[in-house]
Symmetry: C3
Subunit: 397 residues, 3 copies
């Protein structure tokens, strides 16, 4: 195990850490070397945990979380990453605080950061807002640090915004890497990111956008499939196209789930709300137009129900490469006959990949720890090596 | 102090730890040796704290709590145990998470446990549910560990269910042990667990059940007293009968508080709702029958009020052994003239034993720490000895 | 940096620590030596943090917070102080607990303190209550410790009550000390604590009372300015008068903002509700008189609006000493044209001092850490020196 860890750290050592002092808010703004470094650091943390090595790089200091939406797994992943690194978790709960009462973002960002090393934010409800908010926090911290208000510059982690979901997509990428053996092995593999039916409404776009925005960088043949009208943000298509072409892969859009599954190596069937619906919802919510909201929801659910056949069935799975494509999901999935009548995936398909999806999710705390490491330490490989060599045990044995 | 600690550890060393990898959900399913080991470990932790020794066996990792009911003392006890052991507390607040929205228990149990060492659960609202839920979590974790999803197998601690309240009853047992000198000294002592009047309604059965289910194992003469109709779960009577007979003690039920107090060495007067009322309440709550609920509450409170004379008065106390029985309570008590007009106990009786009841409660964090220790470490005595010999101070001096 | 820290600790070493085992609830009950010791300790902690020195004096144990009012900055300051010292934060959330349901304060204070080192309380809503509540908690802990219930005696920190706001006023004093060079340099400086207009209602009195109650001890010329009727608690005037006279400064009250600003070295313009309004509000709230409450609010807001000209404008600032008085605020400020139409301060004035007010706020976590240090350690200077000499790093480098 130690040999494997040493080798990971050695590979990390070769990359310049250009994420030091930066916030990795959108994966498509990161260099490929940054992505590789994040994966290597995350994998190292995961192995160090399994090898029972103490990786607390901090002895006190806060990890602040701000969730504008419900969350279990992301909340626990962030708490785990904080504990792994020796930070004390502190939740900025807007119902308990004055954030919503006229304080400027800048002021709050500084006030909560005097002894803070990382701020994790989930803000995915309104199109055009989450990412903008994170940028504002990021700039406020940068300036607070320059002005001498903050003794350190906390890193901001995007725990899901309206555009991207980097901790999810990077955990998914780790899962692909582990399943197929390496990043290089992904080249030429066909990944079908497809819409799937769900009885609920308004699921965020950040997962499919995050997958399309990240997986097109590794030479994969990415197919995005959805019923007509269920488009992602327009800029994502453009980014995916460019990245696929740069990486020697391809990016195509189809309105047929069957076509997407045909000979696919990986399938990711998941519901989302159309971009134009999310835009309208944002407009109505801001305007306080409850009637319009109800109308929109009804329309959207009615519209969804036309596509109940967009389900990941055994029949569809049999069309994939040797009938054995890897099924992926960010969880929780809408499983037909289990937690809904008709959903995204057939129960037998899900059950076959259940353990795999759990392992897919397991990478998240380590991805977050990696973001904190690279954002806060100029020489991350040295820092990890010293933790390994020190060899203090995480758990008494 | 160190000598006493050494001696406790030496005694613990003699017991095989059969709780390793197990969840001590109900005390009557534990071997007597397990109970002795838990008491020894709890007492050791308590002495180590008072001797200012650092007992953090973990350097990072989560202690997850899940409370489906209000709680102050249990919540703080669990947080204290987590801090004592070096774990970061993380509350699974169902109002903040998606647990109630169709996720399966199995999935959630795994998702919150990637870096988790213990999950403490309080679920005492519905008859027939709390314990079942804990078993489900327990089995999910077991399986998640076997499947390689979880790098470690968190121990599940019952912080109160519909059947038992082991951290309370074990803290109570520590209190008895300390008061009478040893477990052996409890033999032949008369303990009266009696119902008492409270103006409130629907207090859980888990405390009296826990006391009857645990204290009948040490050769005590246990008397359970309550007005007719205020029965506990049927299986508890059976368990208590068998245990009392096995341990050379006795178990009797009476409908007279006076009879129970007669020559008693220990009295535990506390209100609870009849089992059949709790069953009906569970049925109505599940069915969403608000009218039925209101009716039931009215009936139950009316019925309670027939038994206002079930109060632990000075007159009753004078009937106990030399008039000096130990008064016990899990707190908070309904004290006549203090926090209610008519309640479980007279103010002068309570005040005489107030400090004693506080000390009774003080054992709880250490009982929880003991459960974590035994559940997570194969050789608990060695682990405690090493903490003692290392001699790192908990608080700088 | 180390030399500066050594010098601070050396100065601290000269003071007898009379705060050991005491709760610094109101600054005007503390000796001047106590105040100096708190400032020295706070400054040392701040320098140690900036020098990246691990100052965790505890290895486990709880820091309990109880907020009866919304809070962002105080909440985060307390969490930061806890993390700095190695304590686990535990919030006593009254909505989650049974505090409000008939438990006595004494019992709860003991139940949450078995492994607790500090309890921080914010209770500023009702006139005549917050301070009384804190005293009750303080006495309960004292007695619990004497009775052997508590193995240690937690220190109680006033995070804002109806009378005083010591962590705020001491942070403000640190800011003054740093701005003017020393406590001695404050002698003869004119500080104008003045009311200012805010569109909101019922802001607590504890900030102006805390400023007047603390800054009159250092030979400053304190002017308190407010419209007629906007008095503070009567006893504060008396205390301020006495302290000003004892320290060789002065204390005057005026009803003209212009007069207060005239040649001032420091201005602190901030809204508050008149004492008699707070008293009436307390009465109505206790009586559940919602109608009366609405009426009172309307009246108070109407009354406020007569004094919209009480705004800290550029014109007023130009009247101050060389036009360059230090502007102070506890934040968040009501800034005209920024977060309200008409408020306490002109946007251009605030922006000029924005960074200064952030730095003013930055001292708070260290003031709280200092209170914990002095309350819990008999020889605080030695403890800090040992942390410095040990030289363990807070953050891996």
């Amino acid at each position: 195990m130690t040999d494997k860890i040493r080798s990971l750290i050695q590979q990390l050592d070769k990359e310049e850490n250009s994420l030091f002092g930066k916030d990795p808010l959108l994966t498509w703004q990161l260099a490929e070397a940054d992505l590789r470094a994040l994966l290597l650091a995350a994998e190292t943390f995961e192995e160090l945990w399994r090898a029972n090595i103490d990786t607390r790089l901090f002895r006190g200091g806060l990890a602040v979380s701000l969730f504008r939406d419900k969350s279990t797994r992301t909340r626990f992943s962030f708490a785990s990453a904080a504990s792994l690194l020796g930070l004390s978790l502190m939740d900025l709960d807007e119902t308990k605080t004055q954030v919503a009462h006229g304080e400027t973002v800048r002021e709050t960002a500084n006030m909560i950061s005097f002894l803070t090393e990382v701020i994790g934010i989930r803000d995915d409800m309104f199109v055009g807002e989450g990412h903008e908010y994170m940028k504002e926090v990021s700039e406020s911290l940068e300036r607070g640090f320059e002005e001498g208000v903050l003794p350190q510059r906390p890193v901001v982690i995007n725990l899901q915004c309206d555009r991207d979901h980097p901790t999810q997509s990077l955990a998914d990428l780790m899962h692909l890497q582990r399943t197929f053996g390496s990043l290089e092995a992904l080249r030429g593999k066909k990944l079908a990111m497809t819409w799937a039916y769900s009885p609920s409404y308004g699921k965020p776009l950040s997962v499919p956008q995050g997958i399309v925005g990240l997986m097109t960088r590794f030479g994969m043949d990415m197919v995005l499939a959805h019923p007509e009208g269920y488009d992602l943000m327009p800029e994502i298509d453009f980014i995916a196209q460019r990245q696929a072409s740069d990486s020697g892969g391809s990016f195509t859009i189809t309105h047929s789930m069957e076509e997407a599954f045909e000979d696919a190596d990986v399938v990711y069937p998941k519901s989302w709300a159309p971009f134009h619906v999310m835009e309208a919802r944002t407009r109505y919510l801001r305007g306080g137009l409850a009637d319009k909201m109800d109308e929109l929801e009804k329309e959207a659910i009615d519209n969804n129900s036309k596509y109940k056949n967009w389900e990941c069935t055994e029949e569809l799975m049999s069309r994939t490469h040797e009938g054995k494509a890897l099924y992926m999901h960010c969880l929780p999935a809408d499983i037909t006959g289990i937690n809904c009548q008709e959903g995204e995936v057939a129960a037998s398909v899900f059950e076959r990949y259940r353990v795999a999806t759990y392992k897919e999710a397991e990478h998240k705390p380590y991805v977050m720890a990696a973001m904190i490491l690279l954002g806060r330490f100029g020489e991350p490989a040295r820092v990890l090596r010293e933790a390994l060599e020190r060899g203090a045990l995480r758990r008494h044995t």
